[in-house]
């Protein structure tokens, strides 16, 4: 099967969570400006481009800051309040900077029944953080997320773009070691 080239506007086509994010990287410059322009070509109006544009900003910086919201609002002719309504609705958009590894634990019903809460607790203890914080060594941020779509392998944990299946409290330490 030949490699399928995805349009840059497809949100999932680019990694939203990268280990090498830079929380203060300049937005919409160079290649990112080019990608922004490409994204706009795909939609009938600017507003429709909001998700891929935000995803691109997060890919670059690892989070969506107030400054990012204001810039995106300005570029897409939207109000900052409207952009905030989008970013605060989707848990995938992070309101704070994150560590090198964003550990997302599914706590929807299936995973919860299989012990997701304990996995979260163990991860927080092992990283010495509270939900959403960056660990002291800058490596880890643990958050709870909605269903990751792999209920047959509960508890599901996604670290940046990679999915780990059937995570148990016993395997948490090994998982963190592997990342390190």
């Amino acid at each position: 099967m030949s490699e399928r080239k995805l349009h840059p506007a497809v949100a999932g086509a680019q990694p939203m969570y990268r280990a090498e994010n830079d929380p203060d990287a300049p937005l919409f410059e160079g290649a990112y400006k080019q990608r922004f322009d490409d994204i706009l070509t795909r939609y009938p109006d600017k507003r429709a481009a909001i998700l891929p544009v935000l995803a691109m900003c997060q890919e670059l910086r690892g989070w969506i800051s107030s400054e990012t919201i204001e810039r995106v609002a300005e570029l897409l002719d939207l109000t900052p309040a409207y952009v905030l309504s989008i970013t605060s609705f989707y848990t995938m958009f992070r309101p704070q900077p994150v560590g090198k590894y964003l550990i997302q634990v599914c706590t929807s019903i299936g995973c919860d029944l299989c012990g997701a809460e304990n996995v979260v607790e163990k991860l927080l203890a092992a990283t010495g953080t509270r939900t959403g914080e960056i660990s002291e060594d800058g490596l880890y941020t643990v958050i709870e997320v909605e269903c990751l779509g792999a209920c047959g392998f509960a508890t599901v944990v996604q670290v940046n773009e990679r999915v780990y299946e059937s995570v148990k409290t016993e395997t948490v330490t090994r998982l963190l070691e592997e990342l390190r």
Binding site: E70, A81, Y82, L84, S85, S88, F89
Partner: protein, 945 residues
């Protein structure tokens, strides 16, 4: 007043058994409303885009599930049931769900709106406290705004506030944040409301169905509308003339809160001044007794250290922006009305007998009604015997009116502001519309939203510029060069409307000759806008199917003010943009009765309705009507009268509601002039700076205490109705004027303002047929040929102009520099202007609790790069000096003001802008150049601020 949709098909259906036919696309909710059937709804308002989120308006259309009537469109043959047991059960369940976490009565804030959710709960017998959910949802209150209280726990997320903010006012402040049960409304980036970009128009609170957003108590305790008396009246502030219903507590004699009222002009919209600025009328400093200056305070002069301009003035005990009553009041003693009126009439008559009528003068006010303005000019003309009567319009649109009268024969607007919805292109020139005419600005923003191309031309990047497709930031005072260049391009590229020029204009050849040399390249050097951009704008404007021009003080308040206005008029005539929908000339009027005060004859060269005092036939008409010989010599204008006082040409003055000490240019000269008057009578509601120079002060009534007509910027004559009684012995202005006239030997007797209006309309053809009665409830535009049924003529001059030739005249203008250019010593350009929250000299708004809380301090604005060069941080004090005087005040950094410029609001008496301005006049309109003086800026020592 949006463009009517192209004729659509009709749809026929039955609603609750009644046949109804509506245009295709009408929603069921709207169709039912037209039938008088009320369908309960929480998330919908006819002025908003329907979203169908509360589901309360569901109706039975015989489908699988019920349909939300606010979004569902009518269909042919549809049979709709709006009331049934099933529907009641559905609505009751929905109400119960919304009530399940509704906060307890005990912690609910009092709401000024009718709480529609509680009404439904009552209707459906929902018992509170039955739910297992905790009371309230833990979301906090936000009390950071001085005028709107936010109770997030009472919010049902109907989004009405968001749509009102975005779709009605276009302020775009409110959104939703979060998801699921944690969702709530948020301001900007979820800031507290008081720290967001909210401009406090209160539109959100006015539409909120649950009182989650509600007005803060400003006067007497808030009570539901049904517990208060309501009076349909008007806003006392700007020329937009918004219609308002005031809710009154009669026992406290105070307005408790205000609501926008439906009318063709303002359509229920209000701004912060109209909605929250009503409480000044009950301020404890209201004048309640006539006052006479004590013997020992002669010779006259300023009484407070502020007005004296004393060096130590800034160390005064009390902060803030009001006349220090403790300093001023001891100079006056209370007197009876009889004593005061006898003194006023006696002294004025004495001056008239000794020095002649022309030694007397009167300033009326554009804040007074048509009836008061008419009577006042009659007092000056008939009882004083002079035409020395003028008012503050001289300081705002005198040049515009002069240019309009010269070119098209009428000083009023040719079209209403609301018709901008029909304009292909709107040009806003020199108008800070969002601050000075906020509700008119919402209609311009509406139009932009619906496809009108907006061009904004201004020296400052004002609020409206942020909505513009094309914003041209020109060098201050370079207007003529820019407009001439635009016209040069239109003529050169043959974009002008030849048919219109041939049929309706004269003087085109002369115009062509004058603008020939104004190439875009030449204009670029003067106005700082690129030649390409000038060409582009000229093409956009010329190719517009319809274009409407708005302008404000940025055009008129220059020594070239009339020339600036002439250019805008020529632009419209050249492209045939007068007399059709979506076209016209609209100088936005400042005061609530600027149009009416001029119409009523507060102009030294005109009787009521612009009839020339120099015209013998007109003179004979008024001599007959008023029964006394009249002076055929045109009188002096505002600034000339002040000059005349200094030279002793003017010796006695009567001022009704004007405060020239702060409003007129070159304060130091005004101070000397006022002190030089032999006699000054000031009639006002507060002790103004000007009143410090008075011999007699007469306590008058505020807007809320009287009935009269006011003419707005659209030429709409509306009735302002008495809502409160006057304090103490304060009297109605028209009664005072009558008494003074009588005591001067000229009989004036009326029973009511209706009777005065009748006399005025009989003498003013434009107002013919209008009466207080037929002006209810929302007024009429003048001229109004069929006053019993019609609304008046909206669009004037579709078939020619009221000029001798019947044609509009091109009057070409050459670019001229302003009177005082910056130099090495005074390197900055000083531009004075206004703020959204304050009104002119601040007499009213600085006594309004809410408005003063939002904008309490004097400041000026400069570009951050200029501040950096001066080594001044934002918020620090600066020393501003011109050749005439100096002031010290805080500076704020803002990129809205271009480099090399200082923007200075003139509302603040503690830093009076007109200490700095000069009094050179436009030779034609006699308006001073408030918008351009050369100024020096230095860092000031913090201690002296």
């Amino acid at each position: 007043m949006q463009a009517t949709e192209t004729t659509t098909r009709a749809t026929s259906l039955t609603i609750d058994g009644t046949d109804v036919t509506v245009p295709e696309g009408t929603t069921i909710w709207e169709a039912a409303r037209q039938l008088g059937i009320e369908i309960p709804v929480l998330c919908h308002d006819p002025r908003l885009r329907p979203v169908g989120v509360c589901r309360m308006c569901v109706v039975d259309v015989g489908e699988r599930v019920l349909a939300a009537s606010c979004v569902r469109q009518c269909a042919d043959g549809m049979s709709v049931v709006t009331q049934s047991d099933k529907l009641d059960r559905c609505r009751a369940t929905l109400t119960g769900l919304l009530m399940s976490d509704y906060p307890d009565e005990s912690r609910r804030q009092v709401t000024t709106a009718d709480d529609q959710l509680l009404e439904l709960a009552e209707r459906y017998g929902i018992e509170r406290g039955k739910s297992a959910l905790p009371r309230g949802n833990g979301r906090p209150d936000d009390l950071s705004s001085p005028v709107i209280a936010v109770d997030h726990s009472a919010c049902i997320l109907c989004d009405k506030c968001i749509r009102a903010c975005n779709e009605i006012q276009h302020n775009d402040v409110i959104g939703r944040t979060g998801k699921g049960y944690g969702t709530r409304i948020g301001f900007d980036l979820d800031n507290p409301m008081g720290q967001s970009t909210c401009v406090a128009c209160g539109e959100c609170a006015s539409v909120c169905p649950t009182g989650a957003l509600t007005n803060v108590q400003l006067t007497a305790p808030l009570r539901p509308r049904s517990a208060l008396t309501s009076v349909d009246s008007l806003c006392p502030y700007c020329g937009v003339g918004c219609t308002i219903t005031y809710h009154i507590d009669p026992e406290e004699n105070t307005v408790v809160y205000a609501d926008g009222r439906e009318s063709p002009g303002s359509q229920e919209r209000l701004c912060v001044k109209g909605r929250y600025g009503f409480d000044y009328s009950r301020h404890p400093q209201r004048l309640t007794m006539p006052l006479i200056r004590r013997e020992e305070f002669y010779p006259k002069g300023a009484l407070s250290s502020d007005v004296r301009g004393a060096r130590g003035a800034r160390r005064r005990k009390k902060p803030g922006g009001l006349v220090d009553y403790d300093e001023v009041m001891p100079a006056f003693r209370e007197a009876s009305w009889d004593e005061a009126l006898d003194l006023v009439a006696g002294r004025l008559k004495e001056i008239k007998d000794t020095h002649g009528s022309s030694a007397l003068a009167g300033f009326g006010s554009a804040k007074c009604s048509n009836e008061e303005a008419y009577l006042f000019q009659k007092l000056v003309r008939a009882a004083f015997g002079t035409n020395n009567v003028d008012h503050c319009t001289r300081l705002c649109h005198a040049s515009s009116v002069a240019a309009l009268l010269e070119t098209i024969g009428s000083g009023a607007v040719t079209n209403t502001f609301g018709d901008v919805g029909n304009a292909d292109v709107a040009l806003v020139a020199g108008s800070n519309t969002t601050a000075n005419h906020p509700v008119a600005a919402t209609f311009i923003k509406d139009a932009v939203h619906n496809g009108t191309t907006l061009i904004v031309i201004d020296a400052r990047e004002t609020g409206i510029a942020r909505h513009a497709h094309h914003f041209l930031q020109i060098e201050p005072s370079s207007d003529v060069a820019l407009y001439n260049a635009m016209m040069q391009v239109m003529i050169e590229e043959d974009l002008v409307n030849h048919d219109y020029i041939r049929d309706f204009t004269e003087g085109f050849e002369e115009l062509r000759e004058v603008v020939r040399s104004y190439t875009p390249e030449a204009a670029e050097r003067v106005c700082g806008v690129s030649a390409d951009k000038i060409r582009e704008i000229a093409r956009v404007f010329a190719r517009a199917k319809s274009a409407l021009i708005f302008w404000g003080m940025g055009i008129s308040q220059h020594t070239t003010g009339a020339d600036n206005a002439r250019c805008l008029i020529s632009l419209a005539l050249l492209t045939g943009n007068v007399g059709r929908p979506g076209t016209g000339l609209h100088p936005l009027r400042g005061q609530n009765n600027v149009q009416g005060a001029s119409d009523a004859g507060l102009i030294p060269m005109m009787y009521p309705d612009y009839q020339s005092v120099a015209d013998e036939k007109v003179q004979a008409k008024f001599e007959k009507a008023w029964g006394i010989p009249l002076d055929p010599k045109p009188g002096l204008t505002v600034v000339e009268i002040i000059g005349g006082a200094l030279s002793k040409e003017i010796r006695g003055m009567y001022m009704m509601g004007e405060n020239p000490f702060l409003s007129d240019p070159n304060t130091n000269k005004v101070r000397k002039a006022l002190a030089a008057l032999d006699f000054l009578c000031v009639q006002d509601i507060f002790l103004t700076e000007t009143a410090e120079f008075a011999d007699v002060i007469l306590p008058a009534s505020s807007f809320f205490e009287k009935t009269g007509t006011f003419t707005n910027t659209d030429r709409r004559v509306q009735v302002g109705r008495k809502a409160l009684s006057s304090p103490g012995e304060a009297r109605l202005d028209w009664e005072i004027v009558c008494d003074v006239a009588r005591r001067m030997g000229y009989p004036m007797a009326y029973d009511s303002t209706e009777e005065i209006f009748e006399e005025f309309t009989a003498l003013a053809p434009s107002y013919a047929g209008l009466t207080h009665e037929n002006l209810q409830p929302t007024g009429k535009l003048w001229p109004c040929p069929d006053p019993e049924t019609g609304d008046g003529i909206q669009i004037l001059f579709g078939d020619g102009f009221p000029t001798p030739s019947g044609r509009g005249k091109f009057v070409a203008a050459q670019h001229q520099p302003p009177a005082e250019l910056p130099d090495a010593e005074y390197p900055f350009v000083l531009n004075t202007g206004r703020l959204l929250e304050h009104w002119h000299t601040g007499t009213m708004t600085r006594r309004s609790r809410a408005l003063d809380a939002i904008q309490p301090q004097a400041f000026c604005e400069m570009h951050p790069e200029d501040l950096a060069e001066l080594g001044v941080e934002t918020g620090e004090p600066v020393h501003l000096a011109t050749r005439r005087g100096s002031i010290v005040l805080a500076v704020r950094a803002s990129t809205a003001t271009p480099r090399g410029n200082v923007f200075l609001p003139f509302h603040f008496r503690e830093a009076p802008a007109n200490i700095l301005t000069h009094d050179k006049l436009d030779p034609f309109g006699k308006i001073p150049e408030f918008k351009f003086s050369a100024v020096k800026v230095e860092k000031a020592e913090a201690a002296s601020a």
